[in-house]
């Protein structure tokens, strides 16, 4: 196991380095935007003196690398500065929003991942049957339609026509857990529909690619039933590609939810990001980007580690 621990440690270091590079990119990309931030904040009518005073107050008179280091040092401690618009601390603004997004992503993931993998196993077992084709067509249709379109369709059927679920997923901290689940059901369902196809198709492909292996033939020649051949003999060797696709989709659930949040007016980080961009609230934009990048890196790292842990050759060295 020592090897695996070392491997994970090394990947974590690489992940941290990647994040550092990303932070540089984010900071200087914002820096490259045209216009002066202080000017933008104060508006057209500001005098030169007030702009200069604000620049000094915001530290904008210092060279960019110095400001980057300040920002980075703060970010490491969870301090991303203050919002240019409201003056609130960025962490205080983002914190609850990010928790909401995490809640929605977990909600969708808890449904989508087992559903997609089970469906993938089923279509691998019943490959080339009617069920296989129907499942493929339906999931592909779901992934090919834009999320906002899917969202409106769901609203039409579940909120407008039947009023089974609320069209607007406004949630607050005072609500019970059951209430939260109920109110955010439609956005979660939209996300499930969007991410299922990838994971299902990868599960199917990964399993079917193994079915020609000698050890699968051996299992069949031992009289093992088709269901057991797939679940016990093929699936344990198919995890690596499946885990990778699952991780990519989980990352998407957190970083790609902007449209869904807007459609359902869900108070998540995606909406916040859209607002911040339109208002040029750069500290918030930077913080959001950094959080997204960290999510991606962490999930990919988890996928790599997961793929390693499911490989018996690496788990049990000679």
């Amino acid at each position: 196991m020592g090897d695996v621990t070392k491997l994970i440690a090394r990947r974590l270091v690489y992940g941290a380095l990647t994040l550092l590079v990303v932070s540089i990119l984010i900071f200087f990309a914002v820096e490259l935007l045209p216009g002066d931030i202080a000017q933008a904040v104060l508006g057209q009518g500001a005098t030169k003196e007030t702009v200069a005073a604000l620049r000094e107050q915001m530290g904008l008179d210092q060279p960019a690398p110095v400001r980057y280091l300040h920002w980075l040092a703060g970010a490491v401690h969870g301090d991303f500065g203050v919002s240019l618009i409201s003056g609130d601390r960025v962490s205080a603004v983002i914190g609850p929003r990010f928790l909401n997004t995490l809640f929605l992503a977990s909600y969708a993931a808890v449904i989508a991942v087992p559903f997609a993998i089970t469906l993938g196993i089923l279509v691998a077992l019943l490959r080339n049957s009617i069920f296989d084709r129907v499942a493929n067509v339906v999931t592909l249709t779901a992934i090919s339609s834009p999320e906002f379109f899917l969202g409106y369709i769901l609203i039409l059927f579940f909120a407008v026509k039947t009023s089974a679920f609320p069209a607007i997923a406004s949630i607050g901290s005072h609500m019970s857990f059951g209430d939260l689940l109920y109110r955010s059901f439609l956005p979660a369902l939209t996300l499930v529909l969007v991410v299922t196809a990838h994971m299902m198709r990868m599960t199917r492909a990964a399993i079917i690619s193994l079915l020609a292996s000698p050890y699968i033939e051996m299992a069949r020649l031992k009289g093992v039933s088709p269901w057991r051949v797939i679940v016990r003999h093929a699936l344990p060797n198919a995890w690596a590609p499946i885990i990778n696709v699952v991780a990519l989709n989980l990352a998407y659930l957190i970083t790609g939810v902007v449209l869904v949040e807007v459609v359902f007016v869900y108070p998540g980080i995606g909406q916040l990001l859209v607002d911040a961009v339109s208002k040029r609230d750069f500290p918030i934009v930077q913080a959001c980007c950094l959080i997204f990048a960290a999510t991606f890196i962490l999930l990919n790292l988890a996928a790599d580690v997961g793929a390693i842990l499911t490989n018996p050759r690496l788990r049990h060295p000679k």
Binding site: S213, P214, R220, K222, P236, P312
Partner: protein, 549 residues
């Protein structure tokens, strides 16, 4: 009816079809077969003879893309060709078991060996899990696996090939079947390991009085194992007889030609005595993969126009030596001289001309040729790269090379490798090596993936090319029959060291180094009593130890 009761398996007029493109083509044309309880039938033939397909059909099984299209397979009174999938499943593993060619590929890498062993008996409720495990350990002990109490709890990749093959035989025995299909169970093993597995299989088949179908292309092996032998060619039976009769008095020409394969042998050439320098001289080479040392103090010379066979078991360092000579793996110590001049250790530092002089032919022609390139491009590339040929000159050179390897240029120039047979592909590999106009070619197990008749054709071709072009060969092989056929000098390697070297005729005469002796005595002979005699000579209980000398 007393005699009929004795019959375990009766196959009548079996026909099997395989799908090619969109049509079904018959590949087994009406084969009959009868097997009695406790009897071992050897099925022998070259690749494409339908041996495995028939063996699987005896389980009522057809691979994907194949189907049983006619005839009957009757196992213990039950007709398999018309049985339901679930009835067939109930038979497999419990009453008919299968032992595959490559145990390393046929054990599931994700599960422990013993878990795979107990799967069938537990599934069929023949034994409870704990009992099945206990039984597995007893079988491991009977098959003389080391640490029988513990070995099952390892994963397949943690166990050696020979041990895995024995574990697979044990697994086939788990439900005490009436019939086991052995599909080339020792083909992938070294000769010394092969003996252990053969002895183990024979022993356990005797012990439990199990009937078996033993599929192989190796006559000497089947002679040790089978009571009767059936010879197949292209899905048809050639002849069948008891083992003794088949060996002494084969009736058909085809069978006799199989028997005669090992007769190709050419005169040993002496080293030139006119002061010619060796074309390749390996001097005190050490090499390592990471921290693992794989070669130690390897030295030998290869003179122009001569063939040096490098023999040894897998892991003995034969191929690593080749990698050092080609510069793919720069040695940690020592020198490699070419025509008396030292070559840079890494291929990147060698000049184009130095690279040209050393070419390789690989074991698996299948994977060594780019399947998406036409034959003309495959052979033409080195001629263009090293010889700078273009246009018509290049085309003429490729035609000339195709002529050299006895393939019709107009027919092969624009074909793709997958359209060729195994022997033809290997010839293309040879032509590609010749295209560079080398003086020295490394042949890495070039015949071991081929049928005996085809392999003989390749050996004769290489011999002719050597005479015509004055090439020097380094011939890596584990097959001593090949060595006998083609070598002038022999280098015996074991665990990264050269244990003995010298002219071929001397090497095949006693006294030998003990390891050479072990290798030589492990090569199966046609005599059906060879294995029994050998085991007695070595002491039956020492089979495992003998291999570790």
């Amino acid at each position: 009816m007393a005699k009929n009761k004795d019959v375990l398996l009766r196959i009548r007029d079996l026909r099997i079809e395989a799908q090619t493109d969109d049509e079904w083509q018959e590949i087994v044309h009406g084969v009959n077969l009868t097997l009695h309880r406790g009897e071992v039938l050897g099925l022998i033939g070259e690749s494409g003879a339908g041996k495995s397909t028939i063996g699987l059909a005896a389980m009522g099984f057809a691979r994907d893309g194949c189907r049983i299209s006619g005839g009957s397979v009757e196992f213990d009174g039950m007709e398999l060709t018309t049985s339901s999938p679930s009835a067939l499943r109930a038979l497999r593993g419990s009453r008919i078991a299968y032992v595959a060619q490559s145990a390393a590929a046929s054990f599931n890498p994700a599960h422990k060996i013993i878990d795979q062993h107990v799967e069938a008996p537990v599934m069929y409720r023949i034994r409870k899990r704990a009992e099945a495990q206990e039984d597995a350990m007893q079988l491991y002990e009977r098959l003389r696996l080391p640490n029988p109490q513990e070995i099952g709890f390892r994963y397949p990749h943690q166990v050696s090939g020979g041990q895995l093959q024995r574990a697979m035989t044990a697994m086939a025995m788990a439900c005490r079947p009436d019939l086991i299909i052995f599909d080339e169970p020792t083909t992938a093993l070294d000769v010394t390991t092969q003996i252990e597995v053969l002895a183990a299989i024979r022993d356990i088949v005797d012990q439990f009085d199990t009937a078996a179908i033993y599929i192989t292309h190796d006559l000497a092996v089947v002679a040790q194992m089978a009571d009767r032998i059936k010879v197949l060619l292209k899905g048809e039976e050639i002849e069948e007889a008891s083992t003794e009769k088949m060996l002494e008095d084969p009736q058909e020409d085809y069978t006799r030609s199989l028997w005669a394969v090992r007769s190709f042998e050419r005169q040993q050439k002496p080293r030139p005595d006119d002061g010619t320098k060796p074309v390749v001289s390996v001097q005190d080479i050490d090499a390592a993969y990471g921290d693992t040392k794989v070669l130690e103090d390897v030295s030998f010379d290869i003179y122009p126009g001569m063939t040096v066979a490098v023999v040894g078991e897998s892991g003995s360092g034969k191929s690593t030596t080749a990698r050092c000579i080609t510069g793919l793996l720069p040695p940690a110590k020592g020198r490699i001289l070419f025509d008396g001049t030292e070559m840079p250790p890494a291929f990147r530092q060698r000049s184009k001309d130095q690279l040209r002089q050393v070419q390789m032919i690989y074991q698996m022609a299948d994977t060594a040729l780019n399947p998406r390139l036409r034959i003309g491009e495959i052979i033409g590339r080195p001629a263009r790269f090293y010889g700078g040929l273009r246009g018509v000159k290049l085309k003429n050179r490729v035609d000339e090379l195709l002529g050299l390897i006895e393939l019709e240029p107009s027919k092969f120039y624009s074909r793709f490798p997958p359209e060729l047979s195994g022997g033809q592909k290997q010839r293309i590999g040879i032509a590609r090596a010749l295209a560079a106009e080398p003086r020295f070619i490394i042949c890495d197990e070039v015949t071991s993936a081929l049928d005996q008749l085809v392999a003989e054709g390749i050996l004769k071709l290489l011999d002719r090319l050597q005479k015509e072009l004055g090439l020097a060969y380094m011939f890596i092989t584990h097959d001593l029959a090949t060595v006998r056929a083609i070598a002038d000098e022999v280098v015996v390697m074991q665990r990264g060291r050269v244990v003995e070297q010298g002219p071929k005729d001397e090497m095949f005469q006693p006294p030998h180094h003990p390891y050479t002796d072990l290798l030589l005595s492990s090569v199966p002979e046609m005599d059906p009593n060879w294995l029994t005699a050998l085991l007695e000579e070595r002491g039956v209980d020492n089979v495992g130890e003998a291999a570790k000398v």
